[in-house]
Symmetry: C2
Subunit: 531 residues, 2 copies
């Protein structure tokens, strides 16, 4: 109790002072009417009758780092179960929902993915005015509450903390949200498949979500998706570091279009113009020629493709790797395949909670993989497609529908959501791809697939400058424009292979989500440059 | 011995076939004369006399992944000491230097930072022709040798493997370098401070290095610098992950200039135009408003500044972090300070070998730091400068010379190369910086310095939208242009602070190097866009 008095005394949340200040600020705002409503309701109540809870609630002053120390020792919501029947604790969180009912106010406090029910009931501690105040706090506002954790006899189904509730004794608004939200977190969190019991079936469409990403990202599924995404990057790096890879950083502004002139963004560079890198390809290979042996890089990749599909972005995060090998590019292919296996295991074992969270909203089928991964020849894939009645040429690239169909055929036959397709036709790969020495139709190149969609494309690269020139000419490429690239191989270069992975695709397909915009925190496509 | 026969038999390095093929390729090349010289010399010798070493040397076929398995079990150079007097081993590496002397050839083989001496002497195994061939292999070519590791009585000072040499029995060129190199690795590796005993003092200037980065990066110092740089990133991420931070990825293409309109690159974006992000500032803050609590991001940052200095790049790697706090931004300041301490310790403890390698070429003074880090007030820094006779205003930013002088004064007084300067004048910080509630002249902002140069700038940000508008107007900013930024704070946002670190600067200053181009693998400045 001494604790509380000190808090009030040191002025950190004197409600009248805070209210005045915020009220003044609110006057200046365009959203004046909205934000002031809670304050006004509170003040009105406060003025009309004696308030025995005065000083126990209100709007805090803006936290401006005035005082070094606070006596509030905050407990995370997820650790409240250890606090039951142990006296008062402080919790900071958001008002997820609040509703007053006569002399009581029920409020759900949310902290990231955790939620807990809080109650205020008029009595010795709580006043009528305080209950009214609590009931009027706009949803999504950040509040500090002091409360006792109390065990409940019947499970609270609507919260993640189901066995306890918080009996509130003090409540202060730290950061007040607008009363009118462009979307409701409840709506944005609603399971996609489940029928809404109340028959409302309110969903939030994608553009509304993305336009209000700060709110949308607060849903439990999004909190989980982006934590899992951080996990994919972490696993990718840790696994490769363990295998002796060195992280490098490659420039995004380049002087010549890295993968030919198409689909490249132009940048004005002082008095000149330049391009945004479509891949770190050249730089990874230069690092290999420079004796770094095994390298990876994680960074932005840009594609000026006017593709408005579920799986294309104009900017995405590339997980790229390149590796010198001794004799056969399969040394690299197996390294990449095993890296995927290790990532899948890591996600399964360390991110089970996140996967479950996403599953509460979206239909997530467990991701299946074989160990070691399944490797098929491109020709075998073509044969499987033909067997299924599809006409496709020997040297024809897989169309998106065929790619997906092949994924289903492979899943049916081998029960795996991940597989590697090796030996793509030479004709459909870039000029720097090493031809297959044993069959001129094919090349030492591969794609990898998750749930029937390509997530990695890679190959052995030609490390011999003369042969590279020959192949470039064969492709009708002006070799003077790629002179610097060719030059990199003139000072001795080990045979090498590698590949590039689209991070957002890996997360989308691992979770079985239907749109890449769900796995890009701030997606960029031909029609979206904001927020 | 069976091993060797198999190798020859399976055609992997039949020298004549290989030579023919490469000779044919060489004809097509512009550099025909140069690359063919070694081959010609070899062929000439081979034709004139019987060669009892035929098949034991030559140019290998280009490695095109023809055969799945090779019987060559390669041993890394750094592990050769375990192979002394144990029979034949295979090693793949580069010809660092080679020199024939009558019936002997001495060759130094390099593998990343490791070097070992190899000898071929005419006798039962080695022919005259073979010695000549070995002596003519262009420097920097990649070769496979089969050899016995033999202990030597006197230390070989010129190699990292000083107690042994390799007695070669087979030698094949895997990838041949041009005979004329634009720079010599020996010259590029020469210690900067030491006088050259032979009085030549050959150095390689920076532009030549950067123009030929693939060669330049092969020096032991560069091999070490970029491994240490990977270490900085790894430590940064691991330490923050440990502290509960989540990694995020922020868009580089943005619709409005993030830090005001100056110094921003413009990108053509389909029919529109866009900008390259000058920092992930807005997005980090949005992630905080979206309940990610503590976030970091590692990625490219762009500055269209026409600054041609030792420490400016137009594109660099930003190590950015942002963190919600409870009461005081010092919660964040201490987190960042402690992160630096942990990075410095990690480098010292885990990268001692790399630091030593860099020290072989450049003067590297051990980096000194205090634990916990020294925190000075901006006003204290001003007082120290004035005491040293410098005139500087209370609300004036530190000029570069003053910044450096202050670094020297701090070092002299506190014996630390790292310190934090807190409470910068409000007037010289961006509009979104939280003013100091206790003194209107100052703000809740800080810079951090290594060896007297700024490597981090950070602050508590204004999380209240009305106050943010007030401050933006005070700075004469058109608030309609930053409406989206302000809007992010209207749905409840916790108080937060953060900062951005220039990765290349950290590595440069940790090692005490004199130019940021030494710590950017492929640097970009107003005059350099290649390689």
């Amino acid at each position: 109790m001494v604790e509380d008095k000190e808090n009030v005394a040191n002025g950190e949340q004197v409600s009248k002072k805070g209210a005045k200040k915020l009220a003044k600020a609110a006057k200046k705002a365009e959203q004046k009417a909205e934000t002031a409503s809670a304050v006004a309701a509170n003040n009105a109540a406060g003025d009309s009758a004696e308030d025995h809870a005065a000083g126990k609630y209100g709007l805090s002053e803006m936290i401006q780092s005035k005082d070094k120390r606070s006596e509030r020792n905050f407990v995370p919501v997820s650790e409240l179960s250890g606090q039951v029947a142990k006296g008062l604790v402080w919790v900071r969180g958001r008002v997820h929902t609040s509703r007053s009912k006569g002399k009581q106010c029920f409020l759900i406090l949310r902290q990231q993915s955790s939620t807990v029910q809080c109650i205020l009931a008029v009595g010795d501690v709580i006043s009528k005015q305080m209950v009214k105040f609590a009931g009027n706090i706009p949803k999504e506002s950040i509040i500090d509450i002091q409360a006792k954790a109390v065990a409940v006899s019947s499970k609270i189904e609507s919260c993640t903390e189901q066995s306890l509730e918080l009996s509130v004794e003090q409540i202060f608004v730290i950061s007040q949200a607008k009363a009118q939200l462009p979307l409701q977190i409840e709506d944005a969190s609603r399971p996609e498949l489940a029928d809404d019991a109340e028959g409302l079936n309110i969903r939030v469409n994608q553009d509304t979500r993305l336009d209000n990403r700060v709110l949308d990202l607060r849903t439990p599924a999004n909190q989980a998706i982006f934590r899992l995404e951080a996990g994919v990057c972490r696993l990718f790096r840790d696994i490769l570091t363990e295998k002796g890879f060195t992280e490098i950083h490659t420039p995004k502004i380049i002087s010549a279009a890295s993968e030919g002139g198409a689909n490249v963004f132009t940048v004005s560079y002082f008095k000149d113009s330049a391009y945004l890198a479509q891949s770190p390809q050249l730089y990874k290979q230069m690092a290999i020629a420079a004796d770094f042996d095994k390298v990876y890089t994680v960074g932005a990749v840009f594609r000026a493709e006017d593709s408005n599909t579920h799986r294309h972005l104009t900017e995405f995060v590339g997980l790229d790797l390149e590796m010198a090998f001794k004799y056969h590019y399969h040394e690299v292919l197996h390294t990449i395949g095993n890296t995927f296996t290790a990532i899948f295991k890591g996600l399964r074992d360390k991110y089970a909670r996140e996967i479950e969270s996403v599953g509460q909203q979206y239909k997530v089928d467990a991701f299946k993989f074989l160990e070691p991964p399944l490797i098929l020849q491109f020709a075998d894939g073509v044969a499987m497609l033909r067997e299924a009645g599809v006409e496709t040429g020997d040297e024809e690239d897989l169309s998106t529908p065929n790619e997906k169909l092949l994924g289903r055929l492979v899943k049916a036959k081998y029960d795996t959501d991940f597989y590697i397709l090796d030996k793509f036709p030479l004709a459909i790969r870039p000029f720097y791809t090493m031809p297959d020495p044993n069959n001129p139709v094919y090349s030492n190149s591969y794609d990898m697939f998750m749930r029937g969609e390509e997530i990695l494309s890679g190959a052995q690269r030609i490390h011999d400058p003369e042969y590279l020139i020959e192949r470039a000419k064969h492709h009708g490429i002006d070799t003077s424009k790629i002179a610097a690239y060719i030059e990199s191989f003139r000072y001795g270069c080990p045979p090498h292979a590698g590949g590039g992975i689209g991070m957002e695709r890996v997360v989308m397909l691992y979770l079985g989500l239907d749109n890449i915009r769900k796995t890009s925190m701030f997606p960029r496509d031909p029609k979206r440059l904001t927020p």
